[in-house]
Symmetry: C2
Subunit: 144 residues, 2 copies
DNA sequence: ATATTTATGCAACTTAATTGCATTCTGCTT
DNA sequence: AAGCAGAATGCAATTAAGTTGCATAAATAT
């Protein structure tokens, strides 16, 4: 994706165009896994930590990102698909966290199961898988 | 459950019998939902925060409790069933968090789905449902 | 009964995240 | 293009969750 596309994306989500937002968007679009706050802080150290936090939060508020909770307590952030509605954000796809490299991936082809709990209202559901990802498995047992 | 039962429980899990551990066990056994650290701190303020943290951690290490991650980042802790193995702790039941009262419940009758991801090893899975619990629903729309 | 091991309490520290405020920048109007 | 209002940024300080080190106290083993 190019600069003008990021600008459009921000405009579509009612966000002002700033250097930080462009750079953060760029990071998310040029990786195949979710990013933690620390990932961003390390790679975009020109910006103040507070600015990065606020950028992430405004992106979440405007539906550009979704927060992925995990067992370690340090959240990851993943891109929302363009066509994904408010409900889908949370009732939607499965996440995988690798216990070796720590990367969190969205699995858009796998959906959280629909569970019917009598007398309860279910608004969101999160399914998080932990284990060893493809890349780390290959490193452990290289294919000749 | 009575005092001597808690003592047995601790002994079975290779934990020394102390006042704090008995009191924490008692709290967990006299409620139907999972407890957060804050719940314990509020109700057992005689003990130092650090002691409570260490108590929770030793209980987890010995398989008395399991940690339940959630979207807010503040973990809850739930009792493990007596017969539950190491693997089951994580590949096991579903959790529900009420968005109104904040209580986290274990749903031992609902299990996380088994998902097969080609080229990945899945070691644990967490399924967390969020919504409105039975009690809160009744308060909103009282049954006459 | 005493020695050994473990748990507790306190203080200090680490890390993640938020808040207030002055300054700077963006997008809009003219 | 200049000016304005509202929003974003950077900095300092603060909150909150959780951990570590160490001296003292308590629990188990001998």
């Amino acid at each position: 994706m190019k600069y003008s596309d990021y600008k459009k994306l921000l405009k579509n989500h009612h966000l002002r165009i700033t250097d930080c937002r462009i750079d953060v968007l760029e990071k998310f679009h040029s990786t195949d896994h979710a990013l933690s706050f620390k990932d961003l802080e390390d790679e975009l150290s020109d910006y103040d930590r507070v600015t990065l936090y606020r950028t992430l939060n405004s992106f979440i508020d405007q539906g550009l990102l979704h927060r992925i909770p995990n067992d370690s307590g340090m959240a990851a952030y993943g891109l929302c698909r363009e066509d994904c509605t408010e409900e889908e954000h949370h009732h939607d796809h499965v996440h995988f966290k690798c216990n070796l490299c720590g990367h969190v991936e969205c699995l858009p082809n796998y959906h959280t199961p629909v569970i019917d709990l009598p007398n309860y209202d279910i608004e969101e559901s999160y399914l998080i898988l932990n284990g060893v990802c493809k890349n780390c498995k290959e490193e452990l047992q290289p294919v000749s």
